[in-house]
Subunit: 237 residues, 2 copies
């Protein structure tokens, strides 16, 4: 039985307890960075409307006592505000703005290609109850069938990989983390972006000599090995 004060993070779950959501990953890392114990409550896509009276259309949703917060950025802001004495996610307002730039940049450079590579695998991994919802909503959004979106995905692997060149360049001139000597929200955004395909993609996104892998391994090892706690496919091969 959970104590009243357990923090819960409602976390998208698919078959085999895989956790593919990049936004949930960064929220889990945000909680861990703050040193806050939490339960990552597995939810299906179609569970979300039943949570908190349908107040939020997406996960993550954070439940901290009577506080219910949706949206990964709002969650990060809440955590820094509610727990100011714990390690900060954003050392300054400028850090936060620059993390927003990083998110925008990665979604533009890699988001579309990674999406087309993983979308059919996500469909094939969602729980039975989510299958129809996922197909219908995504096909409407994308204007094509999932099979059409995924077609030829092998041919987009190089472009998808190149979409992370900015991360490689930044790490090559600095590191060991994107945030510098110690990990921060920029690392969590980017790691979540890669744990998304790693959770479900049945073709490996990266080459085995990709320098991103050692950085990602460092992030996965953080906070008691948070990034190893859900099943993953090999991200490289």
């Amino acid at each position: 039985m959970l104590a009243m004060d357990t923090i819960r993070l409602y976390d998208l779950a698919v078959r085999d307890d895989r956790r593919p959501s990049p936004f949930c990953w960064r929220a889990k890392y945000a909680l861990a960075h703050k040193g806050l114990a939490f339960e990552a409550v597995p939810v299906a896509f179609t569970d979300i409307p039943a949570l908190f009276g349908g107040a939020h259309k997406t996960v993550p949703i954070l439940e901290d006592g009577s506080k219910i917060i949706g949206d990964s950025w709002a969650i990060a802001d809440y955590l820094d505000e509610a727990y100011p004495d714990r390690p900060r996610l954003f050392g300054s307002a400028t850090e936060r703005e620059l993390c927003r730039f990083l998110e925008a940049s990665l979604f533009l450079s890699a988001g579309r290609n990674v999406l087309t590579i993983v979308i059919k695998d996500i469909h094939d991994h969602v729980k039975e109850v989510d299958r129809e919802y996922f197909r219908t909503s995504r096909e409407k959004r994308l204007g094509r069938t999932l099979e059409e979106v995924a077609a030829g995905r092998e041919d987009r692997l190089d472009a998808a990989r190149a979409g992370f060149d900015s991360v490689r360049l930044a790490l090559a001139g600095g590191g060991p983390f994107l945030s510098g000597a110690s990990p921060g929200y920029a690392d969590y955004i980017t790691a979540g972006f890669l744990l998304w395909p790693a959770s479900v993609a049945t073709i490996p996104l990266l080459r085995s000599d990709d320098p991103l892998l050692s950085w990602l391994g460092r992030v996965q090892d953080l906070h008691g090995g948070l990034g190893h706690k859900s099943p993953l496919y090999p991200l490289s091969g």
Copy 2:
């Protein structure tokens, strides 16, 4: 006659005292941000080997008394270190790392296309003494003639513009500066990147309704209108 303690920033200059270097722009902004008076000393490409015994192959070079610093990042670091009581360029080591990511990201998303759009215009604007050096060094580096690199540049305007979508997205969700409520090094990197084509490009890079223009105008107005002090072509049309 200059006092001994005048800070000098050796700044690439071409015809009509235009100042195209994105790296020099950010260094000038860095000095202005610190509230330091400086002289932006115009130099031709072929002047650089004669400066300080050829210690630096590129500008900007900062001369602050007996301190001679090359490279825009080294200059920024030096200024924060030597003038710790003045407004900081980097509020934290993480801010600096995230600015490095931003630089890498912009060069990857827009650098190549902007280069091909401006390179022949730079050639046509460099001082007579630089003409041969510029053509020879750039053609060797690029493996093609300047005319071949520039050919069809109109067709690359859309792609060049799209290379700044990450900046537009970040500003749309925040602002008024990329660094947040007040301007910072991320703004100076990005403004320098646009003042580069604005200094020499004989075709306008941006559309007249581009939201980048109002942000760039804000940056140009800063620090006594620094971004208006050298001649510019219209950046939009």
